[in-house]
Amino acid sequence: MKTEENISPEVKELLDALAEPHANQQRQEQLSQLIDNLSAQEKATSRRALWPWAGMAVAAACAALFIIRMPNNSVPTTMSEAVAQTDIPTQVTTNTQEPINEKTADIAMPVKHHTPTLLAQAIETETIENVEITAVEDYTTMVGETAEEAVTLEPSAIKVAPPATKPTRRVVACNKLVCYDCGTKHGRDREYRDTDKTILGTPTTPNMDGGMLMLASL
């Protein structure tokens, strides 16, 4: 189509005048629509700008809620702290096959996250003051001193004979025994210390000789 090509400038101006009211009306409608679009765009942009803040607020609320509800897994350094953490789930196993004596409740190790609780529980159930650590080579063979004798022993007495020799048991009594690394280290890396920070031994130390550590209460 070449309809516009034959129009002289005068006629074009005349016809533009004819079209002007309608053209202006159309342009105003277009501009009105443009303003609406810009306004909607601004609103959407402002909403998007709030999203990071809303996200941060939600994250902060979640973090606060988590902190409030998070159980205190910190390892206590005193027996009173251990007693205070009795709400921590416990895994208590009682060795009924080879009891040391009638008053002894053997709690098998290794213990994860619940050593303080076990200690506290032992204290509550047996109403005793002393908690002892018992080093044995295995569950089935327990010979040697009685728990009463063990009370008098020093922590340095924690020695286990090599497997080639006759299995022995050394019971070491120490008050307020806690596992300082419980909750952060597990298995063979665990260290057992007295409250004076003396390392009693680990499952990998030579004097333990791969023996099991057991908590026993009188």
Binding site: L14, L18, H22, I35, S39
Partner: protein, 160 residues
Amino acid sequence: MTPDTFKQTILNLQPDMQRYAKVLLGDADAAADAVQDAVIDMWQHRERLENVVNVKGYCITMVKRRCIDQLRNMHPSIPIDEETLQLADPPPDDTEERFLRALRLVERLPQRQREAILLKYQQGKENKEIERIMKMSSTHLYATLSRAYSTLREMMQESE
């Protein structure tokens, strides 16, 4: 400023801005672009409008700046006519007068030519739509419009 307030304040001045831009740019479409750019600019800085006393003058100034930008982009080597830029107000609104004059001339055209011209210019319809409404081919429409342009030119020369 809400969109409705802005529309009432600014868009009512669109014909003035359009005429002013057309005088500067010499083209209706380029003028419409300049007006649109100016309106967008004013919307984005609409908080300034609340302190403006002479809104019409403010709008004309905004359009003028846009027109200068366009002229510089279109003809970077040609100096801008400073006299034209000194124009403070849009040309007088003779839209209605020119419209009535054009309408009087168009009404003297033959019926088919008049209908084609009014559909195309007064109602702003596209050629395809006019062909459908008037049930004529594109060639026929082209010939009809050409005859109408020729007749109008003759009538304008007679009236002068």
